[in-house]
């Protein structure tokens, strides 16, 4: 396909220019022109109010989906433990469901996991679809896809959210393809379009340099994977729900992979994503000893230590403590960034923190733009002073 501008209709409003993720539009004599490196992604067509952006693609009719009801969440469990993101998604699903006037359901897949139903209900599920089978014991793409496909084809939901964990991002694309539906990856924001009542899915792309809002108009369920730590889990005490057993017919011939063993390593990442106070360090901390001082501050504040990718590469902290686009997403009450420049990939993982403090000796560092309070100074002076002062309060008031 090709994209071009009908110059007579163009009023030079520049909307398309702002929308093009590839910088492939230029203004010449107050009219938009499409440049050679246009990838025909179509983003500009949607934003032009004058229908001046044209394409040779025939617009498709949007099918009637009014019979598709329900906002569903894949309730991922590992060895009988629900992942935190599943509960976070239920909270979100519930508010989306309220907006649409639709019920919330959780899909619980495994073997001997029915006990988790209660937790899902108290976190907002009106229904829990339970799929149990010996072949569903340990997660594997094929049997899980079959189980999910079965219940979705029979019960026809409107929306399905999956946590963007290593398991969720293995399952969701295979399932979406099996169902013939679109899938938006790694969303950080979900809203309902007030007019069309469709799910608007916002996600980072181009290494976090661009945010894209994606719509899924032509297929149901509208599927999205959502980053852990972005939404908030909520409890609804006394909420009543129903556990529904779903028969899944599976034979071992349907499963062509086998998990030989599974080795657990230090499980710190999960603690980080639920920590209330995080002391994060970057290159400016200087060395491993500098990180010891951060650990001391974390101990005084009952917090956890984290780092940037540079700190991880330097070997000052292990990679499961990396905050950011390729690390974990955190949302503590207090985030203290020490010697961190605030690169976009780092900010992607911490921008939902309640309060951000930045300590950096360069007043132009971008981290100050995302901080509530900034201190321009040397971490090796500021942090020990902070420890000193906090210790006094701790000793004199709480007596620790």
């Amino acid at each position: 396909m090709t994209v071009w501008v009908e110059t007579d209709l163009c009023d030079g409003c520049r909307r398309c220019l702002k929308a093009c993720p590839y910088g492939a539009i230029d203004m010449k004599a107050k009219k938009a022109v499409v440049l050679d490196h246009c990838t025909s992604c179509g983003a500009c067509i949607q934003v032009c109010k004058n229908e001046a952006m044209l394409t040779d693609v025939v617009p498709r009719e949007i099918p009637d989906f009014t019979d598709r009801q329900g906002v569903w969440v894949f309730a991922e469990q590992r060895k009988g433990q629900l992942t935190r993101v599943s509960l976070e998604l239920l909270g979100k699903a519930r508010s989306l469901g309220e907006e649409l006037g639709q019920q919330t359901a959780a899909l619980l897949v495994g073997n001997g996991v029915s006990g988790l139903g209660e937790t899902l209900i108290s976190h907002g599920a009106d229904k829990v679809f339970l799929m149990e089978h010996a072949l569903l014991d340990v997660y594997r793409s094929e049997p899980y896809t079959i189980a999910m496909e079965t219940v979705i084809r029979d019960h026809r939901p409107n929306i399905l959210l999956v946590g963007a964990t290593h398991i969720g991002r293995d399952l969701a694309p295979r399932l979406a393809h099996r169902l013939g539906v679109g899938l938006t990856a790694d969303c950080t924001e979900l809203t309902i379009d007030p007019g069309e009542k469709i799910l608007l899915q916002t996600r980072p792309a181009f290494g976090g340099n661009v945010m894209a809002t994606i719509a899924n108009r032509y297929s149901r369920p509208q599927m999205a994977t959502v980053r852990p730590g972005v939404m908030k889990a909520e409890e609804f005490p006394g909420h009543k729900g129903e556990l529904v057993n779903i028969e899944i017919s599976l034979t071992s011939e349907m499963v062509r992979t086998e998990v030989l063993d599974s080795i657990k390593e230090e499980k710190r990442a999960v603690e980080l994503s639920s920590a209330k106070v995080i002391i994060a360090g970057g290159r400016g901390v200087g060395n491993a000893q500098g990180f010891e001082v951060l650990r001391e501050l974390a101990a005084v504040m009952d917090g956890e230590v984290a780092g940037t990718r540079v700190a991880v590469e330097e070997g000052w902290i292990s990679s499961d403590h990396q905050v950011g686009q390729t690390g974990v997403t955190v949302r503590p009450e207090i985030y203290i960034a020490c010697g961190i420049s605030g690169a976009i990939q780092h900010r992607a993982g911490m921008m939902n923190s309640r309060y951000v403090v930045a300590i950096n000796n360069d007043p132009r560092a971008p981290i100050f733009q995302v901080a509530d309070w900034g201190i321009v100074g040397d971490v090796t002076e500021i942090v020990p002073e902070l420890i000193e002062q906090l210790k006094q309060g701790r000793e004199n008031v709480i007596g620790l």
């Binding site: 490196h37 179509g42 934003v47 994606i214 499980k267 509530d372 004199n396 709480i398």
Partner: protein, 284 residues
């Protein structure tokens, strides 16, 4: 062991710059590179080939200039390159991309393994691998960090999870997605690069008709998701810079934190803040 490796040409997003006035990506000077994870994918393929023989076919969907990544792959040691290029393929989401790639792979006579990168650094979805696997109805293993053994029936790999890893065996043919950093990809050698530029180099280009797809099923027209808006993220916080001596700024910080809702998250902050207030009252 015949292996298909999927490669994508991507803009190098590590040095993306944004135009201050328009907020657009500045594409000029932004080089196109082979997607980093795909190098790791090819490296594993080359290692398997060195041990078991067979051919490595590279497949890429993209504009004509994406042939560069195929030449580079051949410089690294791949045997053949296949470029899927057609105006009709443009604007594809992952559904349409995996359909196009899948249809092309079906035309390749035989393969035991398909290896691709875990994630591309522009679209960032990590969806292509599993979707191509489902299209071809073969098993998939994602987030692979190591390939332990390969036989003519089975592959055993290590797969990374957030809290550890798994060893997984899969029947062949299978599709693997490789995590960046899983190995150290070799550099292309000059001889190989030059050979890839020769006229009779084993590079082919297929369009929509060659792979037997309808133009309405591929590209933007065949896509199920659509980008309706893009913007450069902005941050709302209004940073207040604290000024004074080290002792003073730290004191101010504790007071700000102590008076905020954040105080409930940290006993030490709340206590110290109270202590400061008391000390002040006592006039010390």
């Amino acid at each position: 062991m015949d292996i298909v490796v999927l490669v994508k040409q991507v803009p190098n997003t590590t040095d993306v710059k944004l135009d201050k006035n328009t907020g657009n990506l500045i594409r000029e000077g932004l080089e196109s590179i082979m997607n980093p994870d795909d190098r790791n994918a090819l490296e594993f393929a080359l290692q398997i080939k060195a041990e078991y023989g067979g051919t490595i076919t590279m497949v890429s969907m993209g504009p004509p200039q994406a042939v560069d990544v195929l030449s580079e792959a051949m410089g690294m040691g791949a045997d053949k390159g296949l470029l899927l290029s057609d105006m009709a393929f443009a604007g594809a989401d992952t559904w349409a991309t995996s359909y196009t790639l899948g249809k092309a792979i079906e035309k390749i006579e035989r393969f035991d393994l398909i290896i691709c990168g875990r994630q591309a650094i522009d679209g960032d979805t990590a969806q292509i691998g599993p979707q191509v696997a489902d299209f071809l109805d073969i098993p998939q293993i994602t987030y692979v960090t190591d390939i332990e053994t390969v036989s003519n029936k089975e592959v055993i790999v290590k797969r990374r999870l957030e809290d550890g890893h798994e060893r997984v065996a899969s029947q062949l043919p299978a599709l693997l997605t490789i995590l960046g950093g899983a190995n150290n990809p070799r550099y292309p050698n000059i001889g190989g690069l030059l050979a890839a530029c020769e006229e009779n180099a084993p590079l082919a280009a297929w369009n929509a008709a060659d792979i037997g797809v309808m133009v309405n099923d591929v590209g933007l027209a065949g896509s199920l998701t659509h980008v309706i808006k893009t913007y450069v993220p902005k941050f709302k916080r209004q940073g207040e810079t604290l000024e004074g001596t080290t002792a003073e700024v730290v004191r101010q910080l504790i007071q700000h934190l102590g008076k905020s809702e954040g105080a409930s998250a940290c006993k030490a902050v709340a206590a110290t803040c109270r202590l400061m207030a008391d000390t002040k009252q006592e006039g010390i």
